[in-house]
């Protein structure tokens, strides 16, 4: 090598240096302003107020649609279309002061009437909003003047402002709402350009945006369901970011590659081994405790997720300020599990079934969980099911013994207090606690109650808690401003930019 460098003549060297300088100036002048992101699932439509699919919000949330409030990168509630608000002393009426001069992408003006329309539409009897519960507390919505709207609640609700930040609560216009599935029209910093079904969706910057304009002027979401194809697309540079990368096994390859940054964050996905508490022998608390002690969370995380994921001891995300680490309470202890089973009247164990939905974490994790259960005498027959079947049989029909699933909605501790939920878990004390949390608006007090709720779930062991699902983010080393965590279903691109 040394000989070769010295063989370059001086003039030649100067030319090369000049060319290099020129090229670097060129690239500095033309900082990229487009981004192609990979996503595993394609949404079926783009109206976040009419569907539960995370893929909808992962494209439109904060990019195309905005709500009164919004959820920030760490799960905090921030102002959005409402610049500020006042809350009455009885905590039952909220007066929102809206931003002025805001326009929808079709040019129509945004005002208090649109807020009333959107909230009334979402909570109407014939509404197909997948999260109608978010609006349950609302009694009425009144337009005070074009820039002021008053929401009266039936009862104080500590979650109200947070709930208004969900994708299901975004503000839509009466002129365009019916067509949002195909051609979404919001107030956000990006406008919908086109959708090649099965392939990609393109958004472009909104020049009339009311707030700070984003650095990107074009964002393409490309749908790549296959993990091997996702890896190849990143390596070939076809996509520059994969915010929720589907192949944990390929992550080390990207960690070793300086062209990429790997950002491991957390999600709201509490992943659990659910047990049908109404069906023997899972109606016996000792059996459920035995199962909790039979599970080695670390082995599940290592085997199913290649080591990515955080063990949890209750149903609460570790990034939340009120989180308590309870993984020490129900430790992996097969000896104790066998003892508990014997006390419950199953010294030789029993036979049962384990229904597994399609995602890898469930199928791979299920094999490992079944092996761990077998080690304490519980013979769980694995039954793979499709999502549609899972929703019908397990979730709606409650026809199951054991199943593995990730509960990805934020702030969903209350599912253990629902009477008709598929766990069939009923604890009046826990229900009372959840009702108290809902009515408490003071953060400190709420957090204390959250801690108590986590403890109850760990003690009762209605299900076995496995792990908090990780967010495996892989993107170009020069790309900045994408979210590390996944506090809500979103790929917020408002702060995304290329470094020079």
């Amino acid at each position: 090598m040394i000989f070769r460098t010295s063989s370059i003549s001086a003039p030649k060297f100067a030319l090369v240096a000049l060319a290099a300088l020129f090229l670097s100036c060129m690239s500095a002048a033309a900082t990229r302003s487009d981004l192609t992101l990979g996503m595993v699932l394609e949404p079926s439509h783009l109206d976040p107020t009419a569907g539960a699919a995370a893929a909808i919000d992962e494209i439109v949330y904060a990019n195309i649609f905005e709500g009164l409030t919004r959820i920030g990168p760490n799960g905090e509630t921030e102002p959005a279309l409402a610049a500020s608000w006042e809350i009455s002393t009885d905590q039952r009426s909220y007066v929102f002061h809206l931003h002025k001069g805001v326009k929808f992408h079709d040019g129509t003006a945004f005002d208090a009437g649109d807020v009333k329309f959107s909230l009334d539409r979402a909570r109407a009897a014939d509404s197909t909003n997948a999260q109608k519960g978010l609006f349950a507390a609302i009694d009425q919505v009144e337009v005070i003047d074009p820039a002021t709207v008053k929401v009266t609640l039936k009862y104080p609700s500590g979650d109200f402002l947070y709930n208004m930040g969900w994708g299901d609560a975004v503000i839509v216009a009466p002129e365009s709402a019916a067509a949002n599935k195909e051609k979404p029209v919001g107030t956000g910093p990006f406008k919908f350009r086109n959708w090649a079904k099965g392939s990609q969706i393109v958004l472009v910057g909104n020049p009339d945006y009311w707030g700070e304009k984003p650095a990107l002027d074009k964002a393409t979401f490309r749908f790549i369901p296959d993990p091997a194809a996702a890896t190849a697309a990143l390596l070939a540079g076809d996509v520059q970011a994969f915010p929720s990368f589907p192949a944990p096994e390929a992550v080390p390859q990207f960690q070793a590659d300086p062209r990429f940054q790997v950002v491991i964050g957390t999600t709201e996905g509490e992943t659990i081994l659910a047990e049908n508490n109404a069906r023997p022998p899972f109606d016996n608390p000792k059996v459920r405790e035995a199962i909790a002690h039979a599970i080695d969370r670390k082995a599940v995380i290592d085997g199913a997720m290649f080591g990515f994921g955080t063990p949890i001891g209750s149903f609460f995300p570790p990034h939340h300020p009120a989180y308590v680490d309870l993984t020490g309470e129900r430790k992996y202890d097969p000896e104790l599990a066998r003892k508990l089973l014997a006390e419950a009247g199953f010294p030789k164990g029993f036979r049962t079934t384990l229904k597994l939905p399609p995602p890898t974490y469930a199928r791979r994790g299920g094999e490992i969980v079944a092996a761990q259960l077998r080690a304490v005498g519980i013979e769980a027959q694995i039954i793979p099911v499709e999502w549609a079947q899972w929703l019908d049989q397990v979730f709606k029909g409650r026809d199951y013994d054991l199943t593995i699933v990730s509960h990805t909605e934020p702030n969903d501790l209350d599912i253990f207090a629902r009477d008709d939920y598929y766990f069939n878990y009923h604890n009046p004390a826990f229900k009372a606690l959840i009702a108290q949390i809902a009515a408490t608006t003071d953060d400190e007090k709420r957090n204390a109650l959250y801690r108590r709720a986590q403890q109850i779930l760990s003690d009762d062991a209605p299900v076995a808690f496995l792990m908090q699902f990780p967010k495996l983010g892989i993107w170009d080393a020069k790309l900045q401003g994408l979210w590390k965590n996944y506090p809500i279903q979103a790929n917020d691109l408002t702060a995304a930019k290329w470094a020079d």
């Binding site: 539960a52 699919a53 509404s127 790549i224 194809a229 999502w387 549609a388 709606k396």
Partner: protein
């Protein structure tokens, strides 16, 4: 000839009708509520009921069949449950990818297989024939998705000559579109070419042992004249049969390759529609594929008649 054609057409129509009954009946008994699937785990019962109503799922079964089949007769495939757009549009978008891909793969496979088959048949039993047949054996054995990954690794990831996948759409111009289709077409063509080469060779060898070939040789025709003028034409019938089957497969059965290259083709649409319980899309697609296969078989039958005059004359 005409009565032969009409008989074939009638059989095709009956098949289509029976298929429509079977498809509709089977899909209705598949478990899974499309409305519940769309609204997910957080949905309330009344939201699901409202959506079922919107989707027309609460009407009686017979009524739904008649309305579906009736509309299909006038070319209306209905509206996708999940996408909310006409099924016809969805299918048309996908055919714009799948059809050129299938044609490219078929042409590539024929361009390789027929010369290879001729070469091997002419050198039957010699070392070169053994070598070529060994290679085709390998071609049959290699799974096409593995070959596809290899192609991606070499041409997209390492050499960066073509994209690793995706389809820019024909609106981006024929250049980028063909670039996106060339690797998948290669991956699809390899195993097809291997099979086709073997079929061509064995069909040729069988024909070459016929009496009229000996006669032709005895007349003083050269070896190659016999091969091209007499044997090849007579060996085309099994080759055409295989080609017909391959084309039907290439059009609809390429889901794995479509996944590897994340191409928006028909195979992925079928798969997606099944997992999302988008029943109306599945029904429309299956009917379309049944019709395509019937049509391809009809074309193959006509081609038989074209290459073999004996099939043309009324019996």
């Amino acid at each position: 000839m005409l009565s032969y054609l009409l008989k074939r057409l009638a059989i095709g129509l009956v098949t289509l009708f029976v298929a429509s009954l079977v498809v509709f009946a089977v899909l209705e008994v598949v478990p899974g509520d499309p409305a519940r699937l769309m609204l997910g785990m957080g949905a309330s019962e009344d939201a699901i009921a409202a959506l079922r109503d919107q989707m027309g799922l609460n009407q009686p079964l017979a009524l739904r069949y008649l309305s579906w089949a009736g509309h299909m007769l006038i070319g209306d495939f209905g509206r996708s449950y999940t996408y909310g757009v006409p099924v016809r549009e969805l299918i048309a978008e996908r055919i714009a990818v799948s059809l050129p891909l299938a044609v490219m793969a078929l042409l590539l496979s024929m361009a390789v297989a027929i010369p290879v088959g001729l070469f091997s048949a002419a050198r039957r039993g010699r070392a070169s024939d053994m070598a070529v047949m060994g290679v085709t054996q390998l071609g049959v054995a290699i799974p096409n998705f593995w070959f596809a990954l290899l192609l991606v690794y070499v041409f997209a990831v390492t050499l960066r000559l073509v994209p690793a996948g995706g389809f820019p759409g024909w609106s981006a111009g024929p250049g980028p579109a063909f670039q996106a289709l060339i690797l998948p077409a290669l991956a699809l063509a390899l195993p097809q070419a291997a099979i086709l080469a073997r079929v061509t060779r064995s069909a040729l060898i069988e024909t070459l042992s016929e009496d009229y070939i000996r006669t032709a040789r005895a007349k003083g025709l050269t070896r190659s004249a016999v091969l091209y003028r007499h044997a090849l034409r007579n060996a085309m019938i099994p080759v055409l049969t295989i080609l017909g089957l391959q084309f039907a497969f290439l059009l609809a059965g390429t889901i794995i390759i479509e996944n590897v290259f994340y191409l928006p083709g028909l195979g992925r649409l079928v798969f997606q529609a099944i997992t999302q319980r988008d029943l109306i899309v599945v029904e429309g697609l299956v009917m379309l594929l049944v019709a395509t296969i019937i049509l391809v078989n009809l074309v193959v039958d006509l081609l038989y008649a074209a290459v073999d005059p004996r099939l043309r004359s009324p019996r």
